[in-house]
Amino acid sequence: MNAGKRNARDAALAGAAVEQSLAADHIPPASRKMLWRERIFKALLIVSLLVGMAVLAILVIDVLSDGLGTLNLSFLTSFPSAFPKNAGIESAITGSLWLMAICAFFVIPVGVAAAIYLEEFADRRRWWNRLIELNIQNLAAVPSIVYGILGLAYLVRGPLDLGRTVLAGGLTLGLLVLPVVVISSREALRAVPGSIREGAMGLGATRWQAIWYQVLPAAIPGISTGAILSLSRAIGETAPLIMVGAATFIAFNPTGLNSAFTALPLQIYNWLSSPQAEFKILAASAIIVLLMMLVAINSVAIIIRNRYEKKW
């Protein structure tokens, strides 16, 4: 090492040492600059969370102040009308309930079965099982409008040719939330400890018996929470229903699977795109109803989760 550099470093070290020894005896309070930097950074982070909260608050206040006035029993029990003061959402509510029922009827058995396969039977070393997993992860992020195209091409028209029926709408929504149900059911199954499976199989149960009598019952709270949350997502969806051609001017409740239908979010969309200001107010009223339905559904999920969820 050359001498010049060495001297320079020794000098630097000595300098540092003096500074250090002076400071060493007493620990000063936090430097003002550091303190402010910490405060500002933390404040910015909190603000970023508060923005989301503020949007929610403003949204709710705005919807309530616009829509509460026209929200009454006749609004809930009337059919759509060209005249704002006669218009209501009965057919939209029943349509949404039909959609939810059809969706649940399709997606819960299929989603849970797929989850059981992937979690309990599938060998992750096989490429096709990994592909199924990857595919589900990807499907969960496909835009909902694309599901609408799928529904239009294969359910409404094309091979199944169901027409613009509530069945086509419910199945389209079912396909849309299927990945969500599979993913949440798998998490619920995974949370059941392996010792339960081993315990059952150690008593001579077959693999399926272990799943059916032990694992599945233990996972049901988790599975139902996930399924209910995915249904709440399904009834809030609009874009796919536009594609499968749910009409908005439906002055009757669905009478069966082949019935034409409308739905709450669709009715809201339709009223919002109307130029008349009165209809925008009706949209706000309908949003209150939709949000209340979602709150109710989510509360059920939360109650189930809190009451039945086991900590292993």
């Binding site: 970023s48 929610l56 797929a114 990807n138 195209i149 599979v182 919002l272």
Partner: protein, 313 residues
Amino acid sequence: MSQAGAVKAKADATASVFARSRPRYGELVIRASLVIAALITVLTTVGIVFALASETISFLGEVPLHDFLFGTTWSPLFEPPSYGVIPLVTGTLLTTAIGMIVGIPLGVGSAIYLSEYATSRTRKFFKPILETLAGVPTVVFGYFALTVVTPWLRKIGIEVDAFNALSGGLVIGILIVPTIASISEDALSAVPQGLREASFGLGAGRFQTSLRVVVPAAFSGIIASIVLGASRAIGETMVVLLAAGQRPNLTLDVREPVETMATFIAATGKGDIPTGSLDYKTIFAVGALLFVMTFILNIISTWVVNRYREEYE
């Protein structure tokens, strides 16, 4: 299964008490139905790809690929029609870009707060708010953009049109905050505690530890969350349909109305267009483009997330 095989071999050799009484057909049927359920998810993807591809190929038989991808006028309903998708793509990218400018700082900021600063009490307060935000239907966000944000923009002196890219983009930004925040928070929380302790032990503050140690260590996960957020923003339909209008508009002026790929699909799909018509096929062609764009982003994001999960597990 090897276990069953072993039992069977023994049964053949000795006819012992371990011999299987009868084949378990019931279990086979059950297993087959489970596999079928899993295959429905694959079938969904195949269906999407096949539907989009077949109609798109047919569309490209009538409109040259070059005109579709690089044409700068989108006017399928005019005479003569023009099918240049560029205005729809720029409209999409414009609202997405505005959304990302809002969504990235808010989402990542929320995640850093929740993972590095929040006590268990503040987490219990803030997490449900993010979850609620994620659960609000997009049509409701569309209402918010149209009836709250646009009037506010005008009030603060931004002369926006009644339908404009800015308010749609801003609300998309809010919409993707929960997506970005939750995945980023997972990534930040997965950073080993030892790294934080090392940093604090060296006299770094929380601010420095968060930005110089934890965020860099979780960087790939944060990127994945942003990519997924972008994918959601690109595919978002209702907010833009309600707030940004339906005018194919090759512009960077955020005060003007724009049409995005998703809003074109929804607006066209709404009408009763005949199967097999060129208008019908445009839905699929634009849908295919949208699907490819979001698919690439989703795959990148999934790949990155799976990779860092393996790293820490």
